[in-house]
C-alpha cells in the first residue's frame, strides 16, 4: 500500500470522492494541505477573496447539483469567516464539507496564534463535526463527513485538522474506505406503509385538498414523482419558497408559492383547504404566519425525512417519516391500485373557487409611462430573455421576493436562494459556484445594491477564474425590504435604510475587466438584458434603476392567518 502524508491523504480522499472543485483561502495552518493541492491537478482549487464566499460558492454548487460542496480554509479567522456560510447552508439543509486548518495539537488550548475553537464556534450550525486526532484516520473521517453531509436530512459538516496531522514527514498507509457504517447514525430508508395508505385514502376523499412541496422535494430529488402525483390527483399545487421548482410553475395546476410574500391564491387556497399534503417542508414562521390561526379546517399529512420537522410548529394528523422519493413512489403505487378515484365533483368546485381567487388578484403592480422601471418588470423581462431556463440566484431583500414571484420555474434546482437564514451576500458567490460547474447554462444573479456590496470583492475571483455570471442589480438605492417595513410599521422613518455614496458601478465593474450596463428606461430594459445574456464569456453587470418606492405584495399581516394579507399600500384582504 502507498504511504502518504496526512495532507496528501486528504487531497486523495477528495479525489476518491469525485470532487472536482474546492473553494478556499490559504493560511498558516493549512499550508501543508495547500502544498498537496499544488502537487496534483485533479482537484481544482478556486481562490476566493473572502472565506464566506468560499462557503457560499460551495453551497450554490450543492443546491444546483445535489452534491456536497467542499470548502478549505485556515484556522482562526479563516475558519470563523465561513460561519455565516455554514449557517446559511445549515438552515436550508444543504450538504457541505468544510475543511478547516487548526493550530498544532500541542498548542490547542493555549490561545496560540490563529487558534479558534472552530468545533465549538460552529456547533449550533453544523449537522456534525470532526476533529482529526491522528493522520491515519483522515480518509475515514473524510468518508464519514461526506456520508453524513449528503444523507438523511443533508447539512454542513466541519472537519477540524490540526497542522501536525498533515505534516509531510509523517506518512501512513492510504486506503479510501469503500463503505461507511456509523452505528449511531442510521437515516430512515422508507416510510411507514400503514401511514402512507392512510394518507392516500384521505387524498382520495378530500374535497378541498392542496399539495404543498418544500425544499425537501428538491433535496430529495423527487420533483418528478411529486409532479406525477399532482397530475394523477389533479390537486392545486403550491410550495414553500424553497420548494419552488418542485412542480412546473407554468402549468395550470400551479398556484404559486405561499407564505409572507406568497401568491394571493396560494395563501387563500391553503387557508380554506380541508387537506394539506405537505411533502418535505417544515412549516416555518414565514410560511404559516400565526400557527394558532393556521388553516383551521385542514387535516395535515406531513412527509419528511427529519422526524423533528414533523409536528414542530403545526401538529400533523398523519406524520410520515421517510425519504420523500420512496414515500412518493409508494403513494403512486397505491393510487394506481386504488379502486376509487379523487372526488372530481368536489374538485371541480374547488378549482372554480381557486380560479376566482387567481383572477381577482393576478396583477399586483401597475407600470406607468415615463415612470421608473418597476422591479417586477425587470424580472419578467429576464424570464423572457432566458427562456425561463436560467439558474436564478438571489440575495436577500425585495429583489429576492420579486425574483421568486415573477420568474416562472419549470425545473427543480434552478431557483437558488437563502430561504432559512436570509443571508445578504449569499447570491453572488453562490451564482459563481453554479456557473463554474454549469458553464453552458445561463446563471443569473438577481441582487440589490445593498446585498451585492456585501460580497462584491468576488468580482476579482471571477476575473481570475473566468466566471461569466450575469448580475441583474435591481437598484433602488436603498435597503428596500427594511424600508418597506419602516414605511408600514414606523411611519416612514427610514432609519439607516438609505444607501448614500453608492459606487459608480460602471467604473467598479470595469476595473476588474468585466462589462457593466445601465438601464434607466423601460424601453431599454429587454434589449439590454438580451445584450447581456448574449455575451456568453463575459461577466456582465446590469444596473437596473428601479422604482425605489415599489413595495412587495402580497404581504401577510403579522400574527394573522394565511389569508390575512396586504395587497397594496392601501388594500387588504
Amino acid at each position: 500500500m502507498e504511504l502518504l502524508s496526512g495532507a496528501d491523504m486528504l487531497v486523495r480522499s477528495l479525489q476518491d470522492e469525485g470532487v472536482e472543485y474546492i473553494y478556499g483561502y490559504p493560511g498558516g495552518s493549512a499550508l501543508h494541505i495547500y502544498d498537496a493541492i499544488f502537487r496534483q491537478d485533479k482537484v481544482k482549487h478556486i481562490l476566493v477573496r473572502h472565506e464566506q464566499a468560499a462557503a457560499h460558492m460551495a453551497d450554490g454548487y450543492a443546491r444546483a447539483s445535489g452534491k456536497p460542496g467542499v470548502v478549505l480554509v485556515t484556522s482562526g479567522p479563516g475558519a470563523t469567516n465561513t460561519v455565516t456560510g455554514i449557517a446559511t447552508a445549515y438552515m436550508d439543509s444543504i450538504p457541505m464539507v468544510v475543511l478547516c486548518g487548526q493550530v498544532m495539537s500541542h498548542l490547542i488550548g493555549e490561545d496560540a496564534f490563529q487558534e479558534t475553537d472552530m468545533i465549538g464556534v460552529s456547533r449550533p450550525v453544523v449537522k456534525h463535526s470532526f476533529s482529526v486526532k491522528h493522520p491515519s484516520e483522515i480518509p475515514a473521517v473524510i468518508k464519514k463527513a461526506f456520508y453524513i453531509a449528503s444523507t438523511g436530512r443533508p447539512g454542513p459538516v466541519v472537519v477540524d485538522i490540526p497542522k501536525d496531522m498533515t505534516a509531510p514527514t509523517d506518512r501512513f498507509e492510504y486506503e479510501y474506505p469503500k463503505k461507511v457504517k456509523i452505528r449511531s447514525y442510521n437515516p430512515v430508508v422508507r416510510g411507514h406503509t400503514g401511514q402512507i395508505k392512510k394518507a392516500v385514502e384521505m387524498m382520495l376523499k378530500a374535497k378541498r385538498p392542496i399539495l404543498y412541496a418544500g425544499g425537501g422535494v428538491i433535496l430529495g430529488k423527487a420533483a418528478s414523482q411529486f409532479t406525477e402525483l399532482a397530475k394523477k390527483l389533479g390537486f392545486p399545487v403550491t410550495s414553500s419558497l424553497m420548494g419552488i421548482g418542485a412542480y412546473p410553475q407554468t402549468d395550470k395546476q400551479s398556484i404559486g408559492w405561499l407564505g409572507m410574500h406568497g401568491s394571493y391564491e396560494a395563501n387563500m387556497t391553503m387557508h380554506h383547504s380541508d387537506l394539506i399534503v405537505c411533502i418535505g417542508a417544515r412549516f416555518d414562521d414565514r410560511a404559516t404566519n400565526n400557527t394558532s390561526k393556521f388553516c383551521p379546517t385542514a387535516k395535515i399529512i406531513h412527509v419528511d425525512i427529519d422526524p423533528a420537522s414533523i409536528s414542530k410548529t403545526v401538529r400533523a394528523d398523519v406524520p410520515i417519516v421517510g425519504p420523500v422519493d420512496s414515500v412518493l413512489n409508494e403513494m403512486l403505487e397505491l393510487l394506481a391500485q386504488a379502486k376509487t378515484s379523487p372526488n372530481t365533483d368536489a374538485l371541480a368546485d374547488w378549482w372554480k373557487q381557486i380560479n376566482d381567487w387567481r383572477a381577482s388578484h393576478s396583477v399586483l403592480y401597475t407600470a406607468e409611462e415615463d415612470r421608473p422601471i418597476k422591479p417586477q418588470q425587470a424580472v419578467e423581462a429576464m424570464w423572457r430573455v432566458t427562456g425561463g431556463d436560467a439558474y436564478v440566484v438571489t440575495d436577500v431583500g425585495r429583489h429576492q421576493m420579486f425574483a421568486a414571484q415573477y420568474y416562472k420555474f419549470d425545473k427543480p434546482n434552478r431557483w437558488i436562494t437563502s430561504g432559512g437564514l436570509g443571508t445578504m451576500g449569499f447570491g453572488f458567490p453562490a451564482a459563481m459556484g453554479i456557473k463554474l460547474n454549469y458553464p453552458d447554462n445561463d446563471v443569473a444573479l438577481v441582487t440589490g445594491e445593498g446585498s451585492f456590496q456585501m460580497m462584491m470583492q468576488e468580482l476579482s475571483t471571477c476575473s481570475q477564474f473566468g466566471i461569466p455570471v450575469k448580475i441583474i442589480n435591481l437598484n433602488n438605492q436603498s435597503l428596500g425590504m427594511v424600508r418597506q417595513w419602516q414605511d408600514l410599521n414606523y411611519q416612514e422613518r427610514h432609519s439607516q435604510s438609505c444607501m448614500q455614496s453608492l459606487p459608480d458601478f460602471k467604473m467598479l465593474i470595469e476595473s476588474y475587466g468585466h462589462v457593466a450596463l445601465k438601464v434607466e428606461k423601460i424601453e431599454d430594459l429587454e434589449p439590454t438584458l438580451e445584450k447581456a445574456f448574449a455575451m456568453k464569456d463575459k461577466l456582465v453587470f446590469v444596473d437596473v434603476m428601479v422604482d425605489p418606492k415599489e413595495h412587495v405584495y402580497p404581504m401577510q399581516i403579522p400574527q394573522g392567518s394565511m389569508r390575512d394579507m396586504l395587497l397594496s399600500k392601501t388594500e387588504r384582504t
Binding site: 468545533i119 465549538g120 456547533r123 449550533p124 449537522k127 456534525h128 463535526s129 476533529s131 453524513i148 456509523i182 452505528r183 449511531s184 447514525y185 427529519d306 422526524p307 423533528a308 409536528s311 414542530k312
Partner: protein, 163 residues
C-alpha cells in the same frame, strides 16, 4: 411534567457539549444532568431531567436523536422505572445537634461518612423528593454544603437500553 431522559452515546470528545448545546440553543431546560462511561468504554450513559409539555418533550427527544453521537435514548418516565440520586451534605454538628442530625440521618436511612468535632458529612441516596425532604428536615441553618449528583435511572423489568 418532569421527564427523565436517559441517553446512550458515543464516548467521544465533543459529544457532551453537543447535547448540552442543543438544550440552550433550542431553549429547552435541563434540571439535572450526569454522565459517565458504561461497561463498554466506547459508550457513555447520560441521564438528564427536564420539564416541559408533551410537545416540548417530543421535540427534545427527536432533536437529541438527531445528534450523530446519540446511539439510543429512552424517556424513563414513560414506563415504570427506578430513580436514584446521591447527595452528600456537610452539616454543623455541635452539642445537642450531634444527636439530632444522627437521628434524622437514621430516619432517612442515610450514612454519616465523615466526622469532625463540629460537623458530619451525610451520604443520602434516594429519589429527588426524599433528598429534598432530608434537607428540609435538617433545616437550612445547619447546612454547610450540599452536593447532589443529579438523577440516574433505569427501567424496571427486562427492558434494557443497550446497543
Amino acid at each position: 411534567m418532569r421527564h427523565i431522559i436517559s441517553i446512550l452515546m458515543e464516548n467521544e470528545a465533543g459529544a457532551l457539549s453537543r447535547v448540552v448545546g442543543l438544550f440552550s440553543q433550542r431553549n429547552f431546560n435541563i434540571e439535572s444532568l450526569n454522565v459517565a462511561p458504561t461497561e463498554d468504554p466506547t459508550l457513555s450513559r447520560l441521564t438528564l431531567t427536564t420539564i416541559g409539555s408533551d410537545q416540548v418533550i417530543e421535540q427534545i427527544t427527536k432533536q437529541l436523536n438527531k445528534l450523530v453521537d446519540v446511539v439510543k435514548l429512552v424517556d424513563l418516565t414513560e414506563g415504570v422505572h427506578v430513580e436514584r440520586e446521591l447527595m452528600l451534605v456537610k452539616v454543623k454538628a455541635v452539642g445537642a445537634q450531634r444527636a439530632e442530625v444522627k437521628r434524622t440521618t437514621d430516619i432517612f436511612r442515610g450514612q454519616i461518612v465523615d466526622v469532625t468535632n463540629t460537623m458530619y458529612t451525610v451520604q443520602m441516596v434516594g429519589d429527588n423528593e426524599k433528598l429534598d425532604a432530608f434537607i428540609q428536615a435538617l433545616g437550612v441553618n445547619g447546612i454547610l454544603e450540599v452536593v447532589r449528583t443529579g438523577v440516574s435511572g433505569i427501567s424496571r423489568g427486562e427492558k434494557v437500553l443497550s446497543l
